[in-house]
Symmetry: none
DNA sequence: GATGAATGAGGTTTCATTCAT
DNA sequence: TATGAATGAAACCTCATTCAT
């Protein structure tokens, strides 16, 4: 039987990609990524057909990881506010814990390398989150705002919150709480 | 005296850069930018010493243009809400009118090509906006939020609002108004 | 393991570099060197990190080759004159046999591309030659001439001799002998 | 009447060329030469049809200057040794006084930019020097050395002497005298 | 499957020279 | 004549991808 593609190597490549992309932007050479992952330049292409595919898979991975955080211990039966707060906090904690991952995720998001297909997949991975956010949307709708506005607002405000937590890590808890308050009021 | 460096050509290059960058990301070749601007490849480098400089100047130009929009007809003596609403609307209108400019501006912003120096210059160009936003900040501070949170929130929510206006251009007026309402409530 | 970096290819590149540099000076394009070596333009850079490095390694190679000639059959136990004559003749023969190599070596020498480091390495490669030349120097010192003058004089006179041997190859033996005589008398 | 080409500008360009070429080698850009000369890039080409012509004229100029030094106060009626010593010293003094000029002269000499025509012109400019050197050659010929060997030897030994004078400028007089002694003995 | 040398298209930038002013 | 902007060929080098080992 032939050797089998090792999940460890695949993971190492993705990990290395995060580091390199965070440092050098999307132009980071595949050779450097491979080197940091401890594999040969060519090996990268047995795990990913080309760079674009690598970037798309990385994007999925990052989004998936963030969603996993949110879904863990999700208070499925809590009030809408309780659930929204959970989403707010758990995602924010992930982003703060892994600033490089978040940075790369943002860069990939605004770039043109992410295919429509990939975007659909991440949307699908929403799970419990989607449900909650659409409930919020329905509330927002009463106020004449379109579907999706709630989640867009949340991520927009999280963006803002993150920057400040980055500057004053000590006040993290406080800033996260206040940030959520602002969010909640925005949609009230 | 010989031919004089023409502001038109400079402007054409910047205009072409917006188009190319919007289409192909920051990796867009200088040769293509020059071609679209109707000048020779080498000419680009008589107007900008290198690609990085071009991108930085472009960023300044875009930010400057947006600020100019906001500063025009700024109701310097209006209430805080009035002034905030003006900033909200006028910037949003610019962004909606020139989606490519906005896209490129965002891409430049998250990339690493923008120097510290450039960022300082854009900050300095704030003018009337800064004054208003810092008033907002002082209010926000009462709510335990850090300095700068107000403007970060505004631009984050504008980001969200833009997306929706893009999808439903007909409801532009309505969405802009509602979006501001959300913003205003967030900071109450 | 993948293909292994082939010494033949490296040698072919250096050989091609000699030809191209002899023809077109130090400005000879790396692309032409690669083409003459029968490799792709990019391949040159897997053997040498950049053009300057290529030129420095070439210089080392040429100097090394010349020294190897001299060191072969070096009459380590002969009289000072005998040893000096050997150096004189064997180097000269090399230079006459490979005029392009010598030309390139001279060009590299007066240019600014050769690093201090490279110069030190060639000096270190001197071996038996250095020993003999410093003996000569000690004799020269008696005549009030500074250390290093002997070897400088030798290479300077060889330079002159070479030109004439080039013009009248038939009288090579004779000219080499007379040239050495002039050298020997200069330092008596 | 049209403006006339100013000899001052021509001279300034040649002067600037020496500086630039000494610093950056023959690849020094014409634009930098022009800038250092205080003229516009294009002006350079009204004084010299192209770069190669500039380099050739510069070579002539440098050789001419050196010859002028030698011809001044030439002891036309002195003994052969007296005349040879004058050539030796006066050229050496020039070379020591203007190290950049000498460096550039050497670089031009080994390069391929100097045309056959230019070389003939410099040879022709020899004047009194040629006469003396050919007398030396006739003496050398008795020793079985070819025509031209005397002058080749002289410039070769001067090359060596210069290096050492450069290192110990204080002993200039002494080194020049001893160097000539070595030269004289070589041909004795 | 793993390796890394080989490839060559393509990127940025330089520069001699031209030419409108 | 003087200027310096404009030109575009060409230089060096990078890099995604292929493929012999």
């Amino acid at each position: 039987m032939a050797r089998v593609k090792s999940p460890e190597k695949r993971a190492a490549i993705l990990r290395a990609a995060v580091r390199e992309l965070a440092n050098s932007g999307l132009g980071a050479p595949t050779a450097k990524i491979a080197a940091r992952a401890g594999v040969a330049a060519g090996t990268l292409f047995t795990y990913f057909p080309n760079k674009q595919a690598l970037l798309n898979e990385l994007y999925l991975e990052l989004k998936g990881e963030a969603y996993a955080r949110v879904n863990a211990k999700f208070p499925g039966k809590g009030s809408l506010e309780r659930r929204a707060r959970h989403i707010w906090s758990s995602y924010l904690e992930w982003a703060i814990e892994f600033p490089e991952k978040r940075k790369v995720s943002v860069q990939l998001n605004v770039s043109d390398v992410i295919t429509h297909d990939t975007r659909e997949k991440t949307a699908a991975a929403g799970g419990a989150v989607r449900q909650t956010l659409s409930e919020l949307d329905r509330r927002a709708a009463l106020r004449g705002l379109p579907a999706g506005f709630a989640s867009a607002t949340m991520s927009a405000l999280q963006e803002a919150a993150m920057e400040f937590v980055g500057r004053e890590p000590r006040r993290r808890k406080h800033l996260m709480a206040r940030g959520f308050q602002a969010f909640w009021r925005a949609l009230r």
